[in-house]
C-alpha cells in the first residue's frame, strides 16, 4: 500500500506529461507516415509556440492570445513544409532529414536571438493553472485535464482520418505515395493538411506543457520533441493510437524515474538517494533501443517489406 501511495503522484503527473507528449508525437507519426521524414524541427515548433504565447499574452488578453498562438503556430508549420521540405520532394531522404535539422538549428538560434537566451516566464492561464487536490495530493488542474483533452482530440482526429475525404487521401498517400498521385490525389494539399494538423496539436500540447513549467528557453523543445518521436517509434510509427500509447508509457516511465530515489528510500529498498533522476531522459532512449532491437516496427506498426 505504501508503495502505491508514494508512487501514485508520480504516475498521475506522468500520465499528464504523457498526454502532452502524445499531442506532439501525433505530428511526428503523421508526417513520418506520409513523407518518411523525421521532422526534427517539430520539437522546436513546439518551443516557438511557447515563446509566442509568452510575447502575445504580454500585450493581448488570453482569450485572443490563445487562438492567435495556435493560428500562428499552424502557419509556421505550414511555411516550414512549403519552404524547407517541398523543394526536396524528389531528393534523397537524407537530404530532407538534414533540411529538417537545419530548420531546427535556425529556429533555436532565432529564439536565442529574440529572447537573448533568457528564461521567459510562461503566463499564468486562469482556471487550468489553478491548484486542486486529487487523491489527497496537490496538483494543478492542467495535470488532470491533459489526459482527457488528449484522448478527446485523438478520437476527433481518428474520426477525421477514417471518415473524411482528406483523411482518406492521407491514408492513401501513406500507403503508396506514387500510386495515390496517379489516382489524382493532390499530394501537396495532403501533406500541407498533415503539417497543419500536426502543428495544431503541438500548439495545444505546448500550452498544456509549459503551464506546468516555470518558463521557456530556446532549447525547451528539443527534449520533449525527441521523446515524442521516441513515443511515436515505440508505438509503431505511422499509427496514431500507437503514438498515444507510446507517449503515455514514456511519460509515466520518465516521471516515475524522476521520483524513483524518493520512492525507493521511503520504501526502504535503498538507504540514501543515489541520483537515479539523472536517467529520467536517458531511460526513454533505453526503451527506444530495446523496442527497436526486439520489435523494430514498434508495438502497433505494420510490417513493411522492401522489394529489390
Amino acid at each position: 500500500m505504501n508503495v502505491l501511495k508514494t508512487t501514485l503522484p508520480y504516475i498521475i503527473s506522468g500520465i499528464s506529461v504523457g498526454g502532452q507528449y502524445a499531442l506532439i508525437a501525433i505530428g511526428y507519426t503523421m508526417v513520418y507516415g506520409i513523407l518518411r521524414l523525421i521532422n526534427f524541427a517539430h520539437g522546436d515548433v513546439f518551443m516557438v509556440a511557447g515563446l509566442m504565447m509568452v510575447y502575445l499574452a504580454a500585450s493581448l488578453p488570453l482569450y485572443l492570445a490563445i487562438p492567435l498562438v495556435i493560428l500562428l503556430t499552424v502557419l509556421l508549420g505550414f511555411t516550414i513544409e512549403r519552404v524547407a521540405y517541398k523543394p526536396l520532394r524528389t531528393a534523397p531522404r537524407m537530404s530532407v532529414m538534414i533540411s529538417a535539422i537545419g530548420v531546427s538549428y535556425l529556429l533555436q538560434n532565432l529564439a536565442l536571438y529574440i529572447t537573448g537566451g533568457l528564461n521567459k516566464n510562461y503566463p499564468q492561464i486562469p482556471w487550468i493553472s489553478d491548484r486542486i487536490s486529487i487523491f489527497g495530493m496537490e496538483t494543478s488542474r492542467v495535470t488532470v485535464i491533459t489526459p482527457f483533452l488528449t484522448i478527446i482530440l485523438v478520437i476527433v482526429l481518428v474520426q477525421l482520418i477514417n471518415h473524411t475525404k482528406i483523411g482518406m487521401a492521407m491514408r492513401a498517400v501513406s500507403r503508396d505515395f506514387e500510386t495515390s498521385q496517379l489516382m489524382g490525389i493532390q499530394i501537396n494539399r495532403v501533406i500541407s493538411a498533415t503539417f497543419i494538423i500536426g502543428t495544431f496539436l503541438a500548439a495545444v500540447g505546448s500550452i498544456l506543457f509549459f503551464t506546468n513549467y516555470p518558463g521557456v528557453v530556446p532549447t525547451s523543445g528539443a527534449m520533449p520533441g525527441l521523446k515524442a518521436f521516441v513515443a511515436a517509434v515505440f508505438g509503431g510509427i505511422g499509427s496514431i493510437p500507437g503514438a498515444v500509447i507510446g507517449a503515455f508509457i514514456i511519460g509515466v516511465a520518465e516521471s516515475v524515474i524522476k521520483g524513483l530515489d524518493t520512492i525507493l528510500v521511503v520504501n526502504g529498498v535503498i538507504s540514501e538517494q543515489i541520483g537515479l533522476a539523472t536517467f529520467s531522459d536517458a531511460f526513454t532512449f533505453v526503451l527506444l533501443i530495446i523496442i527497436l532491437v526486439f520489435k523494430p516496427t514498434g508495438l502497433f506498426g505494420e510490417k513493411s517489406t522492401d522489394k529489390v
Binding site: 537524407m94 538534414i98 536571438y113 528539443a222 525527441l226 531522459d281 536517458a282
Partner: protein, 385 residues
Amino acid sequence: MMQTRSKKNAWLAFLAVLAFLALIFVLDQIIKPTDRLGMLLIVLQKGAVYALAAVSMNLLNGYTGLFSLGHAGFMLLGAYTYAIFTIPDKSRDAVYQYYDAAVRFSIPEQLSRHMGGFGTALGILIALILAGAVAALLAWLIGLPVLRLKSDYLAIATLGFAEIIRALFQWSKLGPITNGSNLLKNFARASKFKLEIAGAKLSLSTFVPVLIATVSITLIVLIVNSTYGRAFKAIRDDEIAAEAMGINLAKHKMIAFVTSSFFAGVSGATLAMVLSIAQANNFKSAMTYEILLMVVLGGIGSITGSVIGSFLFVAASEWWLRGLDSGKFLGIEAPNIFRNGFRLVVFSVIIMIVVLFFRQGIMGEKELPDLFRKKKKTPAKEAES
C-alpha cells in the same frame, strides 16, 4: 578514380601536407594568442578538431551511407578518457573536489619520470589512442544491436545512445571517475605544449592539434582508398547489390562504425585538449547537428570538402561574423539589430540556403586534387556513374 592516381600525385599530396604543417608551425611561433590575429590560432585549433570530427562522420554518413547521429556521445567518451588519464597527480584532488578520485595515475606524468619530455609526448599519444579505443569499444557494443536498423531508426537510436552516455557521465555515483556533473580540468592541454630546443621555447599549442587531425585524417583517407573503402561505397550505393557481390554487410558496417567512432573519440580528446576543459553537458545532440552541417556544407562524400567545411564553419561562427554580435559589421553600425545571437541567425540562414539550393555543398563528391585535373577526368567520371 583512386587507383588511377599515380605515385607522383601521392607524393605531391604528401609534400603539400608537410608544407601545411610547417606553415602552421611557423604561425604558431609568430602569432601570439593575445594578438589581433590570435583569433586565427583559435580558428585553426578548433577547425582542426572539427575537421577530424566531420571527416570521421563523413566516413559513416557519406561513404557508408549509415546515417548515425551519435557523434557527440563518442566525442564525449574520448574527451573524458583523455582528460581522466592525463590529470597530474598534484592537481587531482583539486579537480575531484567532491569525490574521491578512482583513477590515480596520469600516463604522461608516469612516462615522463622515466623518459623526460619524450615520455610526456608519448603519454599524450597513448592517452589519445586510449580515448579512441574506448569510443571504438563502446561503438562495437552498441553497434551489435543497432546496426541492423535502417536509416532513420539508426539515426534516432544512435542519437539516443549519445544521450544515455551523457546522462551516465553526469551520474553522481560515477563521480569518482567522471567527476559527476562538474567539469574536468588541469589535464594536459594544448596551451601548455612547448618544445625546448637549445634554450629557445617554441609554442606547439596550435601545431599539436593540427598534427593530430592531419595524421588521423590521412589514416581515414587511406582506409577510404583501400578495399574496405570501396566496400563501404558499394554498401552506400546499393546494399543488396553489394551483398550480392560478396560483401559481408554486417562486418563492413561494423568496421565503418567502429573506425568512425575511434576517430570521433580522438577528436573529442583533441577538443578537450584545445578547450582545456571537459564537461559532459557540452556534448549535446546540438554538437552532432553542427558537425553534420559542416559535412553538408563541404559536401557529403568528400573528405577535403568536410575539412574545408569545418574550417569555414568555425571561422565564420567564431571570427568573421563576430561583428554581427557586437553592433558593427562591415562598417554598418546597428546595435539594435546586431546584438547577441544575430551571428547564429545569419549563419543558420546561410546553412539553410546551402541545404536547399546547393545540395552538393562546396565540393560535392569531388576531392581537392580533382579540381586541378578537371578537364581530363570528366569523360572518365561520366563513364563511372
